[in-house]
């Protein structure tokens, strides 16, 4: 049985490491209670923590629209989506905790701007059209990545993705339904959703990350993720470009086309400097959103104190 390598303790450190990475390279899986080299553990932690942060911060742009949703059904659906995403953050922080960093520490690092979250959650939501575009296309770009993550070498992360992908598929339907309703509406509504797409296209094209050569991508070498950034972007374009165009929307990139010979999508080079700037906390809404989380964290400290049994409430109970 291949997992035996994870439980053999009668060999040297170097041998054990070699056996571990051979196990991973052969498509093997690792469980939370298995032995793993520290650098693998740290790398998985970093990846999952960033994903968890993104789920948590990702609800803030959408949350702003709950009170402004146009119908009761939309309000229920948007509220449910926001709840789902916070739930995903909870699941992912749990996976990350098992890798040796406490939830409190992860929160503190997020609030201090020491750890990152996805670029797309650093931008403002200007109209209801944005809510449709985010739920449809940003969740679609995310699900392409998350479906691939079901093949992750870290078992608990891979399995968590199965539940997350199922819920994301509902979000995509909710978003596509909003966009379809708008494009079938008045000229003003059509213009609104086109304007949202125009503003979100660049961040969406940056979202899967730099075109890091697969051989230099440690996450890929250790199969923490199963597909390269560019593979994911190509997959997203292949499915969603036709779906965007067929409903009469225009994609704001004159260079975008499918190259039959090269069998890949060509597009204007995304602004990688913008991506770097934004994910390091210099996006248009980075400071405001972190500040919201900081205020919220302070406001809810008493709840954690009571539940964790560390606050004045707990002392009184003694």
């Amino acid at each position: 049985m291949a997992t035996e390598v994870l439980h053999q303790t009668d060999q040297g450190e170097a041998e054990r490491r070699a056996a571990f990475f051979a196990h991973i390279a052969a498509g093997g899986k690792v469980e939370a209670t298995d032995w793993m080299p520290d650098d693998y553990r740290r790398q998985v932690l970093k990846f999952v923590e960033m994903h968890a942060n993104s789920e948590l911060m990702g609800v803030l742009p959408e949350r702003e629209w709950i009170l402004r949703a146009p119908t009761l059904k939309r309000k229920l659906a948007l509220t449910a989506k926001v709840q789902d995403e916070v739930g995903h953050a909870q699941l992912l922080y749990r996976v990350a905790e098992d890798l040796g960093k406490s939830r409190e520490e992860m929160w503190r690092d997020l609030l201090a701007g020491k750890t990152k979250f996805h670029n797309v959650f650093h931008y403002p939501t200007e109209t209801w059209g944005d809510v449709g575009i985010i739920a449809w296309l940003i969740d679609a770009a995310a699900i392409v990545a998350q479906q691939a993550l079901r093949g992750s070498s870290y078992g608990p992360y891979a399995r968590t993705m199965q539940k997350i992908c199922w819920e994301e598929s509902v979000h995509i339907m909710h978003g596509r339904d909003i966009v379809l309703t708008l494009v079938n509406g008045t000229p003003k509504q059509r213009a609104m959703v086109q304007d949202a797409l125009d503003r979100w296209w660049a961040p969406i094209m940056q979202m899967h990350g730099f075109r890091t050569p697969p051989e230099k991508d440690k996450d890929l070498a250790w199969r923490i993720k199963a597909k390269s950034n560019e593979e994911l972007r190509q997959e997203f374009l292949a499915i969603y470009v036709p779906r965007i165009l067929e409903i009469g929307l225009t994609i704001p990139d004159p260079e975008l086309r499918y190259d039959e010979e090269a069998k890949r999508w060509r597009y204007t080079e995304p602004d990688w400097d913008e991506l770097t700037r934004v994910v390091t906390g210099h996006g248009p809404k980075s400071a405001e959103r972190l500040q919201f989380r900081q205020i919220h964290y302070a406001d809810t400290a008493w709840v954690r104190d009571v539940i964790l049994g560390e606050g004045p409430g707990a002392l009184a109970a003694d």
């Binding site: 659906a77 399995r159 598929s169 509902v170 079938n184």
Partner: protein, 113 residues
């Protein structure tokens, strides 16, 4: 004696699945029985042996399946086919109108000559 619930992982990466239960006087014997009952033929690569008394359970349908319409939480709650057809028809009609206008413009030019 107490009852232990057994969960097994049959293949790497799979979720732990409930396999059954057994009765044992202590944890050590429970582990031994679990191995005998649930991996005699090498069908498991990992077993979890959990005292039944430590399992908390929810079965209340009012909590698990509330009798309210929450169709917006499932993909089938969104009926997009008609809307999609309508959008496609509009795009086709607009394309045909543009082609018609071009033909008409070309005809006018020819007529002027």
């Amino acid at each position: 004696m107490q009852v232990y619930e057994i969960f097994k992982q049959e293949r790497e990466g799979e979720a732990m699945k409930h396999a059954g239960n057994l009765r044992a006087p202590d944890d050590a014997l429970a582990l031994h029985y679990a191995k005998e009952f649930y991996s005699r033929r090498g069908e498991s690569i990992r077993l979890w042996v959990v005292p039944r008394a430590t399992i908390a359970e929810i079965t209340d349908p009012d909590l698990l399946k509330p009798p309210l319409d929450r169709s917006y939480r499932v993909p089938a709650g969104y009926k997009i086919n008609e809307k999609l057809d309508e959008a496609r028809r509009r795009v086709r009609a607009a394309a045909e109108a543009r082609a018609g206008a071009r033909r008409e413009a070309a005809g006018t030019v020819t007529g002027d000559r």
